[in-house]
Assembly symmetry: C2
Homo-oligomer: 209 residues x 2
DNA sequence: GCGATAATTGAATCAACATTCAGATATTGA
DNA sequence: TCAATATCTGAATGTTGATTCAATTATCGC
């Protein structure tokens, strides 16, 4: 039966593709985009250079796919865990804690982001940077909506939700960043508590505990 | 008298060099590092390509010089204005307000940072990214010291200075960033007040006003 | 097993620019 | 004005590495 084989082939194709992405991620994370060659990726994934072009249109496409896929997963995870909580306070808390938890699991990905290189796209339109900015705006919108709903329930009386959302994301990113670049990776969980305490006192006038 | 001429030549050399840097800054800010060619910079500054190499060792050196000079000035400005204030609260306030004020004057520079591209340095060691990270650490250290001194005077009782410093810088950067990428540049001054209010309430238990 | 189809290979090609440097031009001191 | 020196010029060079594609190998249905 032809379709059965087709399905299996499809699956195998995707597995190989995913493997190439995984290898590429590792290399991009250590060397950055431009210092990484297609030859290296081919080598690491056990394919010939030419074969990579059956899976991706080119180096740029490979890089974009990698980043796009990861960032989407990351966003989904944050939203899911946040919306699973019942109260506004818990939702905010979930955002911070999930973000920090993801830092460990997605470490390579974040290393790539820190080494960020805007890609030289001679004419192509909305490029990767634009996509990342959209993503950031979407994230801010989400946090804002969580805070706004909280206000409906009487929380966070002291602030404009948009402002607080930007501030919160800024703090999260700052802690994440300084953790990523620090040599001694002290557990982030403690930091999460300190951050939330600071934030809740700031927006509510009293600490979380 | 030979030295007189030497001095004038020296000065003219530096002026030309500064002009090249200014033109390059503008172009880097709109197109990013790799999309900018030496030919363009030469064109914009009215020199031939070859001449650029009398002023800078190469494209990379030009870019590094640009970023290093700006960031040093930026840091100086922040420290100066902060230390000019007397109380800890005013010092923190000065950091935020100066940072925001610089955003307008150094806009091109910050656009370059947003379009950040790690440069592919085949073998050279401490690269630009490392320098920027050091700078970030230095900035954090400074803010931390301001907060720590404040604590000696009884302010900010609720937090660890390092944690609060990271949080504060994170918030500043977040507001700066969202201002830079927003279409309608609403005045940042209002944001400064909101930010400080949030922060002081967070670290002190009461708002700034 | 066999022809047909799909997947894989990697050496050769190609484009893009940074950089160089031999010659042209300008500036200097006399 | 003139030789000496400093400065500038931009076409030609060189390097790097992504991409291509004709040839090879694997997999398929029968």
């Amino acid at each position: 039966m032809a379709t059965k084989i087709t399905v299996r082939k499809e699956r195998e194709f995707l597995l190989r593709r995913a493997d190439i992405l995984a290898q590429a991620e590792r290399i991009f994370a250590t060397k950055g985009y431009s210092a990484t060659t297609m030859a290296e990726i081919a080598d690491a994934s056990g394919f010939a250079i030419g074969s990579l072009y059956h899976f991706f249109q080119g180096k740029e496409h490979l890089y974009e796919t990698l980043i796009t896929e990861k960032i989407d997963k990351f966003q989904d995870e944050i939203r899911r865990s946040s919306l699973a909580a019942d109260t506004a306070l818990e939702r905010v808390s979930a955002i911070v804690k999930t973000h920090f938890a993801m830092l460990t699991t997605y470490e390579n990905f974040f290393s790539i982001l820190i080494k960020w290189e805007g890609i030289h796209q001679k004419d192509k339109r909305p490029n990767l940077l634009e996509k990342l900015l959209d993503n950031y705006r979407g994230y801010t919108d989400f946090v804002e909506s969580v805070l706004r709903e909280g206000q409906v329930q009487g929380e966070f009386p002291n602030v404009e939700p948009r402002v607080a959302a930007i501030a919160l994301i800024g703090m999260i990113d700052a802690f994440a960043f300084s953790w990523l670049i620090s040599a001694n990776r002290e557990p982030l969980q403690d930091r999460a508590e300190a951050l939330l305490d600071l934030f809740f006192r700031g927006v509510n006038g009293y600490g979380k505990a």
